[in-house]
Point group: C2
Chain length 210, copies 2
């Protein structure tokens, strides 16, 4: 149903959802596109266009029903049930993400953690999880109904580990390794690239000074 939603729009949907949940927590019943744009850091025309792809038009001169829009965005983003994710690579970053604790109320549960290092396997990883051997990954996908892999391994092994998790049926990967992953067409990959974020800030530092 959603193949016609542009990728750039999809990328803004979580931002809208976060902003609208905030309005909801303040018991704001209605939000217009100007207000949503202000919170989301975009412009009102973009908000209206993005939401129109979801069949959401709001009421002219009034705005969008906040509860309804939260419900619809949640459905569009496939967040009606909690999705289970696995951390693959239990280094400092994997450990930091496990300790973060802010995923549950955004629709995700970190349900398992894997590594290949014999010294790490079997140790407690927090949140009641124990580091499991990557060799057991496919069995764990079945056991825990894992849907998403958060890849926090060194770049040098990222592709090999990706091949392993894709072979086990994973269709969604958030990659923190600074390398492009080759995956089949039906596997979605998002690249987390902290250096790229810093470069965008650098652009603003440069242009702001001129």
């Amino acid at each position: 149903m959603s193949n016609h939603v542009p990728n750039t729009t999809v990328q803004r949907l979580p931002v809208y959802l976060r902003c609208l949940v905030q309005e909801q927590s303040l018991r704001v019943p209605v939000a217009n596109s100007v207000r949503i744009a202000e919170m989301a850091g975009t412009n009102a025309a973009q908000v209206r266009k993005d939401l129109s792809y979801l069949g959401e038009y709001g009421i002219r001169g009034i705005g969008y029903d906040v509860d309804g829009l939260v419900r619809h965005l949640t459905r569009w983003l496939g967040l009606e049930h909690v999705r289970k994710a696995a951390i693959v690579g239990y280094g400092r970053l994997g450990s930091a993400l496990l300790g973060y604790g802010g995923f549950q109320d955004r629709g995700f549960s970190l349900a398992a953690v894997f590594d290949t290092d014999p010294e790490k396997i079997g140790t407690a990883a927090g949140s009641g999880l124990v580091v499991e051997p990557l060799a057991d990954f496919a069995a764990a996908v079945e056991r825990d109904a894992l849907e998403i892999v958060v890849l926090t391994v060194p770049a040098s092994v990222a592709q090999a580990v990706t091949d392993t998790v894709v072979a086990a049926g994973i269709k969604a990967i958030l990659n923190f390794a600074p390398t492009k992953l080759l995956v089949p067409a039906d596997v979605a990959v998002r690249q987390a690239d902290v250096a790229a974020e810093l470069q965008i800030l650098s652009f603003h530092l440069s242009s702001g000074g001129e």
Copy 2:
């Protein structure tokens, strides 16, 4: 000079740069928009449009000179000199970022690390850095010519810490705390939101199954 470059274009520039540096390392002299788009995960028309904002048009039927484009993107992104960044908040995430090591060749140096916890202050943070008290932040900005703050503090204190670093003259913040920061108009903030990345993957999992 660059106020007319759309934000959406700015966000793709680091991706283009990363791809072109990769071509450069393979000694590819010329890359056309189709090839750049393929590497960057966008389409050729978008590549041509984005680069046209920078005055880069390539040669019809041939493409862009890779070395020249790398040089120009580097200049546009303000990356001719290494920019110094500080980690503020030395928890697991701050520690993971310090240990990452992939920033230097992207134009950044993590030059200082701060916290307010007396137990952490004075301890070695890796990379030859020692955790400094946040109270010394303003002096350190002068001392180290810090330009960017990577904010890895809990959401509950993120705004207060932001006020401190902005008062010290910082104009660019990469915020890992899951909260919106209020800053003056001349301060650029990028929000790192891992849960939002997972939600985008969730969208693809939903729509892919239909």
